[in-house]
Structures are given as C-alpha cells and as structure tokens.
Symmetry: C2
Subunit: 352 residues, 2 copies
C-alpha cells in the first residue's frame, strides 16, 4: 500500500502534463487544434482562440505585411506531380495568398540527415528555386543544419513567406457570413492520394499526380474583382476540405451547408478512396482553395475564377447559413444529410 500525498490527490497533474505528442497532433485535425489551443498558445501567453489563420498580418510603415511559416516533412520526398522543394514553396505562397497577399520574399531552412545525397539536395533546391521563379518571388535567405544519422529522415524544409496584402483584401477565417456562397477552385483529393500512392506502392491503375501549385494569381484575380465581397479564403491542405470548412465555420460562428453532388472528386481519387476506405473530404490538397463570397458577388467571382488556369474547374459547393453554427453539414447524394466532421487524428501522416 502506498501513502497518498493529500496535496497531490487534491491537485492532479493537468491533463496534458503527463502526455506525449502523438502523430495525430500534426494532422491538422482536432488533436492539432487542441495542442495549439491548450498547450502552445497558453505557453506563449496568448488566448487559446487567438489564431485562426495560417498567417499573421503585421503592419510596418503603413504597409500590411503577411508572415507565414510551414515545416515540410513530406514522405517520400519525390511524388507524382512534385517534390519537397516545389511543395515547400507552393504551400507557403498559398498561405500568403489565402490572406490576400502577394509574395515578396521567401526564406528556406533545411534540416538534413547526415548521409543525404548531395545530388538530391541539389535537385530539391532547384525545384524550390524553379517554383519560386514561377511564382515571381525571391528566395532571399536560408539556413542549413545537419543532424546525425537517425536524427532526421533525409530532408526537412521549413519555408517562411513574407507577403504584402493586396489593396482591398480583407478576408479572414472569422469573416464568413450567413448567405455567403461557398466556392471551390477545383477538384479535391489529388495531393494526399498521390503521396499515398507513392509511399505504399498500392498499384493504383493509373498514377494520381499531386495538384501542388501556387494559387496567388487566382487569389489576386479574386481580390481584384472585389475584395470586399471575399469574406474568407482557405486552402484545404492537412485535414482536407472538411478541416478547412470546419475551421471557417468555427472561426466565423456560422454553419456551412454543402452539396455532395457539387464536390468535384476526380474518378481516380474516388476509386482509390473507395478501395482504401478514405473520405475524399479529409484528403489533403495543395492546389485548390475554398472561398466564402457575398451572395450577390458569387456568380461574378466564379466567372473570374474560371477565367484563370488554377480556377478553370471552379464550382459552387454550397452556402453559409445561420443554423448550426460551427458545423458543416452535407446534403448527400442519397438525399440525406450528414455532418462533415474534422478527424480527431491522422488519416495519413507526413503528407506535407
């Protein structure tokens, strides 16, 4: 029999103090939100609901700048449609674009495992350089650290982007309003399924290529058409479309209704998801965006999107509603309704 210290019995350890980080804490799902809200933000002295964006607005000399950072740990480093270098640039350019910012400069930080082939390092760096050149942004600075064998898995890249907000851009995850149209720029599920196919050698009948690409020109066209009508914008990466919609619903305290019929899932993605029991709504994307747009501007915005290469296949998915705030609900093909929830943990780790 062990004696119980009454002070300890009366004051158990806070729930997170005895726990360990799980893979799911990096998923972009509910565990990620918990880690951010209950551990990281309080440790920084910030309120737990302080952050709903993937980027911060910083005003300097009267200019609205946007700063965003992302660590890329994708496995494998090369996949159909891209590699870690391109992905790291696209992901960061897109985080700026979702705030209505044009990219001004990028910074790249490498953590490399000892023994990593220099030819591969050159290849991924050239990919990052090419993606930056295509996006019209400069890789202005960087850093390289090397850790011993077994202390990393090849190469990790952290990309930070500095952008300047476009005149008229005011979107925020918290600014969606009932009545807004929910617009999606193109088909979903390609990036996540490309990674899964490359990793698991699943022998899909045909190769699915990642949709990784920069979206700042599409976003800029939408802002130019009318920034005031563009309430919220998000690229559905980790956690997929379901996570992006839920984040906006929660941050804006609105409900979102979407039509399953309207969700564009490529046939190959649908078949692979079916085979593996995955929901395309939870699969990561790296080349599409979802936007909440004032009803009277929806058709014109959709036309603007469709006039760009990145938004050619844009669709209207549904509507923002005042009902069920914080929840995303889908009219299913079967004529019913279901809640589109966020996964608790990880459907597929290290997809970006």
């Amino acid at each position: 029999m062990t004696a119980v210290d009454p002070a300890r019995a009366a004051c158990p350890a806070p729930p997170h103090e005895t726990e360990r980080v799980l893979l799911g804490h990096g998923s972009g799902g509910r565990l990620s939100a918990e880690l951010l809200g209950h551990v990281l933000l309080p440790a920084l002295g910030a309120p737990p609901d302080a952050v709903a964006e993937d980027a911060a607005v910083v005003t300097v000399a009267g200019a609205e700048l946007v700063l965003t950072t992302d660590a890329f740990v994708v496995d494998p480093l090369v996949f159909p449609g891209g590699d870690i270098g391109r992905l790291a640039v696209h992901g960061t350019v897109n985080d700026l674009a979702m705030m209505g910012a044009a990219p001004v400069a990028l910074a790249l930080a490498y953590i490399i495992e000892e023994g990593f082939p220099i030819a591969d390092l050159r290849r991924h760096t050239a990919s990052a350089g090419a993606a930056a050149a295509e996006a019209g942004v400069r890789i202005a600075t960087g850093d390289t650290k090397v850790v011993g064998r077994g202390a990393a898995d090849g190469l990790y890249v952290t990309t930070t982007g500095l952008g300047r907000r476009l005149p008229g851009a005011r979107m925020s995850a918290g600014a969606a309003r009932p009545g807004d149209a929910v617009l999606l720029s193109g088909p979903i599920g390609r990036h996540g399924m490309a990674i899964l196919g490359a990793r698991e050698s699943l022998g899909f009948e045909a190769e699915i290529a990642s949709d990784t690409r920069s979206l700042h020109r599409l976003a800029a066209a939408m802002v130019a058409r009318g920034g005031a009508a563009l309430h919220a914008m998000r690229d559905p990466t980790r956690g997929g479309l379901a996570a992006a919609l839920n984040e906006i619903a929660a941050a804006s305290a609105v409900g979102i209704m979407i039509d399953e019929e309207a969700v564009p899932v490529p046939a190959l993605v649908a078949a692979a998801c079916d085979l593996l029991g995955l929901d395309p709504l939870h699969v990561a994307n790296e080349g599409c965006l979802v936007a909440m747009v004032a009803a009277d501007a929806a058709d014109a915005t959709l036309a603007t999107m469709r006039a760009t290469p990145e938004g050619r296949d844009a669709v209207r998915l549904g509507t923002v509603v005042a009902d069920h705030p914080g929840r995303v609900v889908m009219h299913t093909l079967m004529g019913g309704r279901r809640v589109v929830d966020v996964l608790v943990g990880e459907q597929l780790p290290r997809i970006c």
Copy 2:
C-alpha cells in the same frame, strides 16, 4: 570486363554529385560555405558569392525590412543558461540585430518526434515566449509538424524573424575597411562549452552557462551613436569568433589583425578548452557580437557598448588592415603571429 561508355568517360560526374552530406556541412565552417556556394546557391540560380549575410534586406513600401531564418537542432534541449526555446528566439533576434534591424515579428515552426513529452513542449514554448517578450517582439505565427519515432530527435525549432532596419544602419559583412577597429562585446566560448558540458557529462569543476541572449538593444545603441561608422557586425555563433572574422575578411577583401592578449576568454572556458584540446576562437557564442568600426569612432563606440548590460565587458581586439586580404592573423601571447583559420568541418555538432 565492362565496356566504358566514351561519353561518360569524357564527362565524369561533377564532384558533388556522388557525395553525401556530412555533419561538417552544418558546422558554419568551410564545408558549410562549400555547400552553400557550390550546391545550394547555384541550384537556386544565384551566383556562388551572392550571400555573405545571415539575413536579407527586402524593401517594401519604402521601408527596409530584414528577413532571417534559422533551424535550431541543439542537443541537449536544455543546457546551463538556456534551452532550445530561448536560443531559437535569441539567435533570430541577433541575426536581425547584426543587420541593424529592430525585431518586428517572429514565426516559429516545430518539427516534433512522436512521443515527445507535452510538458517539455510547453516548457520550451514558454521559454520562447518569455525570450520574445523580453526582446519586445511578438511571436506572430507558427506551425507544428509531427514525425514518427526515430524520424527526428525530440524537437527541432525553426525561427524566422522579420525586422525593420534602424535609420542610419548600413552595416554589411562586405563593408569593413582598412583602419577600422575590431570591437568585441564580451567574453567568448561560453555557449559551446555549456553545450559540451551538458552533453558529455565531462564533470567540469564548475558549470559553464551559455551566454545566450538578445543583442538588439546593444546593436541599436551602437547604431544610434553613429550608424555610418559601423561598417560590419556579426555574432560569432557556429564556427566561433574565428569564423565570424574570416567571413568579414573574405566578404570585405581585407585583412584582420587581432591580439591574443585582448581576446577575453573566461577562466573556466579556457580551462575546459585546454583539457579537451579545443581552441576558444572556434567555440560558438550566442550572446556577443564583433563589429568593425571606423577608427575615429572606435573609442566612442566602445564607451557606448560598455554602457549597456550586454556590452559591459566590450574590448578592442585589433584592427582591419589592407595586408593579407581574406585572412585573419593573430599576434600571439608568445610574441609570434599565427593565421586564425576556419575549421573545415565540425568541432562540435548541434550546438545551435
């Protein structure tokens, strides 16, 4: 017998294509410079001599902004005088400060190994938050990725800093001139020896604490005294004072003469280095800076430095000369001279 393809025989693989990354490529020494100059910058389409600073100047809306990024992979995560959270903030604030910039915002990106204790994550995040608050800068955004067990070593932190250049600040690693005084803000060798002591359980007689701290107030005082006289400034981190002086000598195409007698090495550091056969000039620091200052402003700048807490023990180390451009030479205590070279590889991996 294998046939030799004549095209291949005539065109061997470039030297780096068949090689692998070594721990020394992350040392801040000669291998790091080679990787940057021969692999990374060419892959980005930049000239091999493009970068001599730890930060980039980006002009937005007429304001001179400075952007810098650093990956922190220090081992162990906690050491006398600090931890990875404080170090990550100090290192980035200091890279901004060395360009004469006041910190405006920081971004933190975590790569966490599955199974890492959440209490430790909270502790290091709180450290980063406290260091940022002390420096008067906001951690504005961040990212968290989790990788499987064995794919990282606990926690890696990449910190990016956005700063605004102070009026009058014009220093650059390439702007030192013959005749300049070489000023050092305080004693060297504490950070590297603190890490080594914590890692190896060497049983030093007394504990050496890291000098990790933010230097932007010291740098700002020096700029305020007279920015035009402040030609070059660098914090001697990886590679130590020897690397910082050699970088400035190379970038400015000048020689540097220093006096061994003037180099402030704390007794504990000197004893530990002696025991282990290390040269304090190569040991990393995280809380001092070296500056090349116009001769006629040297005494006044030294007085300004000594009036700040971070520069209380500032000294004049030597002089910039026109002789032996690109080389650092030391008058030794024995009355001789020796070249102070950069290490090829790694004296001590993962010190930051």
